[in-house]
């Protein structure tokens, strides 16, 4: 019997409101003149990575950034549409840091660490100030002040936005701060580089191996700390709203070097995406949650309904969210909205040719506010919808359905954002800490930037100063680097050598179907066991029959994909295993066996009020499920109700 470890989140003592301030005072500092002697590697240049790299460089650290795209500006944070939360209370509608904290903890179904969430709510206001100072063109009122709108899971308007392109504008703000440092020669930006190995020397993360995706060269980079800002693993499902190159490989390499992986089963299925329309489909496109401010969700009452949406009279429509959740209505949290859409489709009440969709209708809003107002609010989203579906949402209701969007799970980190490998930190979606079992809308941008601008600059300094790394330089000539490089090269050579008969994408699709069917919106013990067996079989088949064309040198996109899919085939199994062992429902993790009489998620707080942190024990060996107990001192655990 393996021993289960109890992890310490290193939450500082004291009152919740004082923890972060006190911790900042207690942490060690690095002398300004010494900062340039420390090398920091930042992998990924989305909101978390770009903001961390820029800020650490401003402080004086010697920073290098790495991204797989051709420019740091392309990271997938750019696709976030709706907004970023902060408790500024500008609308004077009753918001406060405590309320933002409370909504986020409750929205996450009481599976996040209290102290982390409170800190997030505290620094959120600084994010808005920082971004405004950078020239982010936030939406404004006529008096020149900032505008707010409301989002799911909250009854106040606390979401700041830049049309339907908030992620783009915040990322371009962070990117411009990063490029400012690049221009000054203080940050080295490496593009089209994929991290293929984490290098650990004497138990500490001391560098990475990268593969240059243009030349196929492997390169060694040493450092005093490695920050993984590499996003989530939603692409395990093949079809998701993630970008094509978004992957879980960097986190997975860290996992195999000792970083524990927390709550991998917590995935967010976003309620409002454009439904799938064909087998050739490569990705799903999200329609911002902000649409639920004005759009009304409905299905026909009669499951044999054949009329077009506009021909169905009012009394024959079922506005099921408004009916079931009168106080939050169409603005219930994402997991609740998604699950209800699935229930309607399962009852046969879905719409469109596939019957796997529900309507999101703007007719009332257009009547009430006028078409110009709706156009100003959502014009770009309506245009995108029309381009993809060839239907005009100003005239007919949108058809929407849930799709994989975000992963709340990720590398386990302590309060300082450090993984279980000293010196290896995880920021943004790559970590697990702030959203519990369900993330609220407009909170991902908030967390990515909080981690990068306002948390890591303090906690990294404390680590570097405490470890005395200044006297222990590790060079790229250390044997650990050669070994790691050799391991990576052998892996890529092996993928090329298989020369089987099936394409990489065909395996990825196969995995995606298993994940969606068994590790999707509703899970059962039986289904999850089936998933584990099936994924193992696909993985075996992959390593025997995958066909990767081309060579290891030069551009080889199939080879890049094969490397990522090989990792998804392991990560998917861990997700299923985590879902199987979490015998409760919470947030986005819904087990059919654990539901209330009203079909809501039923938590088992006595047994599962903890984080599951998985420890790697070797390929094809069962990982160990360690835990971190979650202690709630400031909020009472209740059955979430949005009625």
């Amino acid at each position: 019997m393996t021993e289960i470890k109890k992890l310490d989140g290193k939450v500082p003592a004291g009152k919740l409101q004082d923890k972060w301030d006190q911790h900042r005072f207690n942490m060690k500092l690095v002398n300004p003149a010494n900062k340039r002697k420390y090398k920091v590697i930042v992998v990924g240049t989305g909101l978390a990575g770009a903001s961390a790299a820029a800020t650490l460089s401003e402080l004086g650290y010697d920073v290098s950034t790495f991204c797989i795209q051709d420019s740091p500006r392309r990271a997938h944070s750019i696709a976030a549409q709706g907004g970023v939360n902060a408790a500024k209370n500008y609308p004077n509608d009753g918001d406060s840091i405590w309320r933002l904290f409370y909504d986020t903890i409750k929205g996450g179904d009481y599976r996040a660490r209290e102290a982390n969430v409170y800190r997030l709510a505290q620094v959120a206001n600084n994010i808005i100030d920082q971004c405004a100072a950078q020239g982010v063109p936030f939406a404004r009122e006529y008096g020149g002040t900032l505008s707010n709108r409301s989002f799911g899971g909250a009854q106040v308007s606390r979401t700041f936005y830049a049309r339907g392109q908030t992620g783009q504008q915040l990322l371009l703000g962070a990117y411009s701060a990063l490029m400012k440092e690049v221009g000054k020669g203080k940050v080295k930006s490496y593009t089209r580089r994929e991290m293929v190995e984490l290098v650990v020397v004497d138990g500490k993360a001391r560098g990475i191996i990268t593969r240059n995706v243009v030349t196929g060269e492997y390169e060694k980079f040493s450092a005093d700390a490695v920050l993984l800002c590499t996003g989530g693993y939603g692409n395990t499902y093949f079809l998701s709203s993630n970008a094509m190159a978004s992957n879980g490989s960097a986190a997975w390499k860290a996992y195999k070097k000792g970083a524990m992986f927390a709550n991998p089963c917590y995935t967010q299925i976003h309620p409002t995406c454009i439904p799938q329309h064909g087998d050739f489909q490569s990705k799903l496109t999200l329609m911002s949650e902000s649409l639920r401010n004005d759009g009304r969700v409905w299905v026909p009452k009669d499951k044999n309904e054949t009329r077009k949406a506009n021909d169905i009279p009012e009394e024959e429509r079922d506005y099921y969210l408004e009916e079931k959740y009168p106080s939050f209505g169409n603005l219930v949290p994402r997991d609740v909205a998604a699950r209800n859409a699935k229930q309607q489709a399962d009852m046969g009440k879905g719409v469109g040719s596939t019957k796997v969709a529900v309507y999101l209708d703007f007719a009332d809003a257009i009547k009430r506010e006028g078409i110009e107002t709706i156009k100003a609010r959502y014009g770009n989203l309506f245009d995108m919808y029309e381009r993809i579906t060839d239907e005009n949402p100003y005239e007919v209701p949108m058809r929407i359905f849930p799709a994989v969007h975000y992963t709340m799970g990720g590398l386990w980190v302590d309060y300082n954002l450090m993984t279980t490998v000293p010196g290896c930190f995880a920021l943004g979606e790559a970590n697990f800490s702030d959203h519990g079992a369900n993330r609220l809308g407009a909170s991902a941008l908030m967390q990515g930037l909080a981690d990068g601008y306002f948390v890591i600059p303090y906690t990294l300094g404390n680590y570097l100063a405490s470890e005395g790394l200044i006297n222990s330089d590790v060079e790229e000539t250390a044997p650990e680097f050669d070994e790691a490089l050799k391991t990576s090269k052998e892996r890529f050579d092996k993928l090329l050598a298989i020369n089987g008969t099936k394409s990489v994408d065909s395996f990825h699709r196969e995995l995606g179907v298993v994940m969606w069917d068994y590790v999707g919106m509703a899970r059962t013990a039986e289904g999850l066991s089936t998933a584990i067996t099936k994924i193992k079989a696909i993985r075996e088949d992959f390593w025997k029959n995958v066909k990767v064309t081309g060579t290891n040198d030069g551009v080889n996109i199939e080879l890049e994909k094969a490397n990522r899919v090989a990792d998804f085939l392991e990560l998917g199994e861990l997700m299923a295993r985590d879902a199987l062992t979490r015998e409760e429902s919470c947030g986005g993790h819904f087990r059919d066996e654990y539901q209330t009489e009203e079909n809501e998620a039923k938590r088992e707080d006595d047994k599962f009020c903890h984080v599951a942190a998985w420890e790697y024990t070797g390929d094809n060996k069962e990982p160990i499920r360690n835990i971190e107990e979650l202690n709630f001192e400031n909020v009472a655990l209740t059955q979430r109700s949005y009625k």
């Binding site: 696709a79 329309h277 064309t549």
Partner: protein, 255 residues
């Protein structure tokens, strides 16, 4: 979508092994394409076919596939991002093409955007331009309350119009001079329209324009092809605004 709507297409695609070797147009025929597929999904189908035959798939840049990351490019029948106005290649759908049509697919071409392989190009020159001044010089932690900087709504909207640039390079590819004026002016405009960008406005425009020249982008001769091809509808009025800023900065130059 019923199967009788499926498209058969003749593709003429630029193939180039790497940056050093010469490229050429290669012909492919592909059938069974759904009109609901995106242009890139059509290329995915072609690549699956090429892989099955043991051939090298066509390399092309893409990532978000929802028109915002700016990674996708492609000259489609001589038009940057293809025939549909204000649409990136990834958002272009095959219903815009006819059954049996011949489609020519080439990379964005410009001296400053060397081809890496097939349809993949190097656009690091855009990063270099931003690094030369496309920012407000404010370090993290210095910001005052966001509402203490008031921005007239009209300026905020114009700044947002300019900031919508996705940095894809269509403006450069469609310009006969391979000028980057629309790209540069979008960033200059965004920041000069906002109070936050005022302090460094003159330095910014001078530095960015001189970096653009240094990197081998051409001059603007007011053809407006850039505006016509921009997938985000960035207006050439930004170029006029930048020219004003540039002139004023040049006149006031201290040396």
């Amino acid at each position: 979508m019923s199967s009788d709507n499926l498209l058969t297409l003749n593709l003429k695609i630029w193939r180039q092994k790497n940056n050093k070797e010469k490229g050429e147009i290669v012909d492919y025929t592909i059938d069974g394409i759904s009109p609901d597929a995106s242009f890139l999904e059509m290329l995915d189908v072609l690549n699956e076919k090429l892989i099955a035959e043991g051939n090298d798939p066509v390399a092309f840049d893409h990532d978000c596939r929802e028109g915002i990351c700016g990674m996708c490019s492609l000259m489609i029948n001589g038009q940057a991002h293809g025939p549909e106005a204000e649409t990136t290649t990834c958002q272009l759908h095959m219903r815009k093409f006819q059954n049996g049509e011949t489609i020519v697919v080439e990379p964005f071409r410009a001296r400053a955007f060397p081809v890496l392989k097939d349809l993949m190009i190097d656009r690091t020159a855009f990063d270099d331009i931003i690094a030369s001044g496309g920012f407000v010089n404010v370090n993290t932690g210095n910001a005052q309350d966001a509402n203490s900087i008031l921005v007239p709504k009209e300026n905020a909207e114009l700044a947002m119009d300019a900031a919508a640039c996705i940095g894809c390079g269509a403006c450069v590819a469609s310009c006969k001079n391979a000028s980057a004026m629309l790209f540069v002016s979008a960033k200059v405009s965004q920041l000069s329209l906002l109070p936050q960008g005022q302090l460094e406005a003159e330095e910014r425009v001078k530095n960015m324009v001189s970096k653009m020249d240094e990197l081998g982008f051409g001059n603007c001769t007011n053809e407006a092809e850039c505006e016509a091809s921009c997938p985000k509808g960035i207006s050439i009025s930004n170029i006029a605004r930048m020219n004003r800023d540039f002139l004023s900065a040049a006149v006031k130059a201290k040396d």
